[in-house]
Subunit: 422 residues, 2 copies
Amino acid sequence: MTATDRGASLPPEQLDALVTVLDMVRSGEACTRPELGRRSGLGRTVVTQRVGHLIDSGLVEEGSLGPSTGGRAPRQLRFRAEAGAVLVAELGATSIGVGITDLAGRLLHHSERPWDIAAGPEASLEQVEASFDELRAKPDIPKVWGIGIGVPGPVEMATGRPVAPPIMPGWDRYPVRDRLGAQYGVPVCVDNEVNAMALGEYRAGLGQGLRDLIYLKLGTGIGAGLISGGRPHRGAQGCAGDVGHVAVVDDTDVVCRCGNVGCLEALAGGAALARDATTAATGGQSPLLAERLAAQGHLKAEDVARAAEYGDPVSVELLTRSGRLVGTMLATLVNFYNPSLVVIGGGVAASGDLLLSAIRQAVYRRSLPLATRNLRIARSPLDDRAGLMGAGFMVVDELFSTARIGTWIADGSPAGRPELTA
Amino acid sequence: MTATDRGASLPPEQLDALVTVLDMVRSGEACTRPELGRRSGLGRTVVTQRVGHLIDSGLVEEGSLGPSTGGRAPRQLRFRAEAGAVLVAELGATSIGVGITDLAGRLLHHSERPWDIAAGPEASLEQVEASFDELRAKPDIPKVWGIGIGVPGPVEMATGRPVAPPIMPGWDRYPVRDRLGAQYGVPVCVDNEVNAMALGEYRAGLGQGLRDLIYLKLGTGIGAGLISGGRPHRGAQGCAGDVGHVAVVDDTDVVCRCGNVGCLEALAGGAALARDATTAATGGQSPLLAERLAAQGHLKAEDVARAAEYGDPVSVELLTRSGRLVGTMLATLVNFYNPSLVVIGGGVAASGDLLLSAIRQAVYRRSLPLATRNLRIARSPLDDRAGLMGAGFMVVDELFSTARIGTWIADGSPAGRPELTA
């Protein structure tokens, strides 16, 4: 491949400088050549050459004249986020979300549809690919430079394959990355969906500018994504954040889908709320829930939230208990991990303030004062877009990394960038 | 300062290459110039120049001829770990350990004495300084290049001051780093002692080559140190790992020194073991412990361990309960953090295999199979040297970082390195 050959001719020192300059322009930290020189410590010639590469490759453009500091006013530089696009997908247990972002992680289009992940990798990825093709066909969509995908299970980062995912039958070691890579001819990043959500909140949501945060997803299941010192913490097997099966209650006989008893997820997750609400409805404890059950044929966590808003005591109690259990577990994590932010996302988190305040109360009661002094616990503002945006950032950061950029950016050539061949 | 001026003349690109070359020689990854070129991707001229700098500065020396690959055999390069020394100290709740390491983190001398941290910073640091001066006066000790110190509380990394440390009365915001820096005129690193222990195990103990580990100290108190992706995870306030006050039991009236009830430390730490052993001894449940209490006037966790070895049922039960509580908490951390290694250190950990197997049993019972598939739980082989060695690595890594190396390594000059002025 010629792009690789040309890229390989740039020595590592030059690639480091290229990435440094690009990162500063991308983040807006420095927008003129003199500023880039001051901030990076790179020499004037090096800055000029690297900016030249970036302009030639179409990633940066010159804009208006900036403020002069005495001599000739320097030209403003602008990152061309519209130069390329990233296809992103988020596979949940019961839905598929797809979207397309620009190179700054902004979501240009996105949509979601119900889907059963247990349909297996072939059918699920065909679904994803069909949606991707629709997105690419929309007007004014730039060339696709990469693909990012989140799945509801642990992923081996080196190969981009799910590993022993408990709720993804048929997906164990399926080559997700290789399949999409072969299909589209661009770099593909695969990660756990909750890690992608954490990255989305870190880069574009409440976590901007922070270093250590926990994203806690409360949906049908419960899981967490971690950012440590500004980088994702995935753990040794890529299964960090798997807190749904932490034991929170001793004296219970509720058996979890993992086979253990007393698991957080089996007592406080969305499925647990729906189960207990159904019991209350059929047992005559809650006329409101019974009415809803009769009308719909089933109950979901959202119904509990709505009934609680109407003052249904059973629903208020269910949400409070759920929040207290989640908060008690979270207090342990806060002491251990000392984050500055805990973002609560997922379907159950959308249940209103009752759940959130029960969580907060339990955390503040059981965490050390120093750990909670500047701790913020808040609902995800990005909501269901966090995972798609995070998947986009995974890809963009990979494309613009020292390790990758040399394989496609060429010395002065705009032809080296990755492009969809189809 | 001339060293700074000279160092500042090296542009960042050259410093990066300098650090890359030094790291490879230090770690043994590459030991000849051609090998350095191949592994780093740096050009021949750059490698030759940087190696020249390092030889001139006394950090690297040329050794014997290496194996030839056809042409002239390349010279072996060796990192001169003996070129400098690092003074290290570990302040615990009831002891001070001091030592001196070479630039590879090897402990040349070390000693420990009982000390009450509540004596405050002035008296404690005078004690440390007196010990440092003794160590420096020993024969064949190289010049001191830096100081590393671990303290039993959270530390603000930017300033090197303890922040609201619960068991260090009088130390809040005391300028530990500035005091030692002014006294010795060398770079000083201050961190939590458990973080230093975790770093010691990571670099020189069981953690070598791993990326994610937890060091759990079971002493009078209980605390953890974390390595995330090869780097210390300190948390937003520097108090990550503070797991002694996690709630592990609901139905108890044992009040912890933090004021809460049900804390792990108050039920399973060294002080808790000593307390419960004393109750058993005076209550007539354990003749062995009663005998020991009569002989010594008090009981310590070590006495429980020894009595358990002699088969004392009360002591066996106390250690098993302690291990079970620690293991239950640890299971949550294993699910959340997914480490590949948990190292158990501290005085109580030395209690023999009973405690360790109770911990293991609880972890494997309550952690997910994927998280424990390749998990190792083991006692610290470095024992009480982990913290001192970790403090040494903190300093060495700082000295040889891109940010620091430019302030003291000169372009071809051996005079730029930091030296004790006294």
